[in-house]
């Protein structure tokens, strides 16, 4: 480990914007995909349940 302090770590030798920007963007994309998939699944299941309920007769 070669960071002298926490603030050094965050400063990234002056490249903070670029390095943290890149990793941050990647993290945002990953989080975004996961959350979107979760939301998509919920909405599909909700629609399916509504369809089944409106069909009335139990299968």
């Amino acid at each position: 480990m070669h960071w002298n302090s926490v603030s050094d770590f965050f400063a990234m030798g002056g490249y903070a914007f670029y390095v943290w920007g890149s990793f941050g963007l990647t993290a945002a994309v990953v989080a975004g995909e996961v959350l979107l998939l979760r939301a998509q699944r919920k909405s599909i299941l909700r629609n399916l349940r509504d369809e089944l309920l409106s069909e009335g007769s139990p299968s």
Binding site: L25, T26, I44
Partner: protein
């Protein structure tokens, strides 16, 4: 042993694959998380400071995996597409569709992180070097795939049309890369090249490799999750889906 080989074909049915994918994805997610943790550790705490690029070079630990994955996913997508066209299986087309958005996002990340790397190192947000330009065109190919898919209503026809497009695209990728390289060397103006990466210490290589595999595991996880959604959506009028909800 022989019996197990024959049983693989049962997973070509969306219903069975839905269950299989449901069991598999947590494993890949765990692998992805662990590998990413190790990879990030190496990226920030083990890999040394570069002599020329200082700490800025650490972007390669996301840039290179993103580029690799964007290309690899396109190949796998085209393979699934080809499979689906050849054997007329529904699931293959669904797998290709499940991979496309992730591939497109990796291509976008590759370009964005490439720009963030290029600006401090070479002074410009964008350079028309062969690799970046080819990556941009790859993003266009992905966007075309997604656009074609969303404009055809019938999912079966959409899958097949996108399959043809993916196969045409995959054949063109080397041609496009070659022509862009040619174009780049002719116009010698842009002498900067993002392929001039820092001389690689072995820790840097290990870090990149682990991050690439982490992204690979992540892509598989997302593809499995997405294909489950696609299967539910497409098969919603079948009995097994109705039972699965209860």
């Amino acid at each position: 042993m022989n019996a197990r080989v024959i049983h693989w074909f049962k997973f070509a049915s969306p219903q069975n694959f839905y269950v299989l994918a449901g069991r598999m994805w947590p494993w890949f997610a765990t692998l992805a998380t662990l590998l990413a943790a190790v990879g990030l550790w190496i990226s920030f705490f083990v890999a040394p400071t570069d002599a020329q690029q200082g700490e800025g070079y650490r972007i390669i630990f996301v840039h290179v995996p993103a580029s690799q994955m964007s290309m690899f996913i396109y190949l796998v997508m085209a393979a699934w597409a080809g499979f689906g066209l050849a054997f007329n299986t529904r699931l293959s087309g669904m797998m290709a569709s499940a991979l496309a958005p992730t591939g497109a996002l990796f291509a976008f990340l590759s370009l964005a992180t490439g720009a963030l790397w290029g600006k401090p190192m070479w002074g410009a947000w964008w350079v028309w070097d062969a690799r970046l330009t080819s990556e941009l065109i790859l993003l266009f190919l992905y966007l075309g795939f997604l656009a074609l898919q969303s404009s055809i209503d019938d999912p079966r026809r959409a899958d097949k049309a996108c399959a043809v497009l993916a196969l045409v695209g995959v054949v063109n990728v080397p041609i496009i890369y070659f022509s862009v390289k040619w174009w780049n060397t002719l116009h010698q103006g842009a002498s900067v090249s993002l392929t001039k990466s820092p001389t690689m210490a072995s820790t840097m290589l290990w870090g990149m490799l682990i991050m690439v595999v982490a992204c690979w595991m992540y892509a598989i996880t997302i593809a499995l999750l997405r294909v489950r959604n696609i299967i539910l959506e497409r098969e919603r009028h079948t009995e097994w889906v109705k039972h699965a909800l209860e």
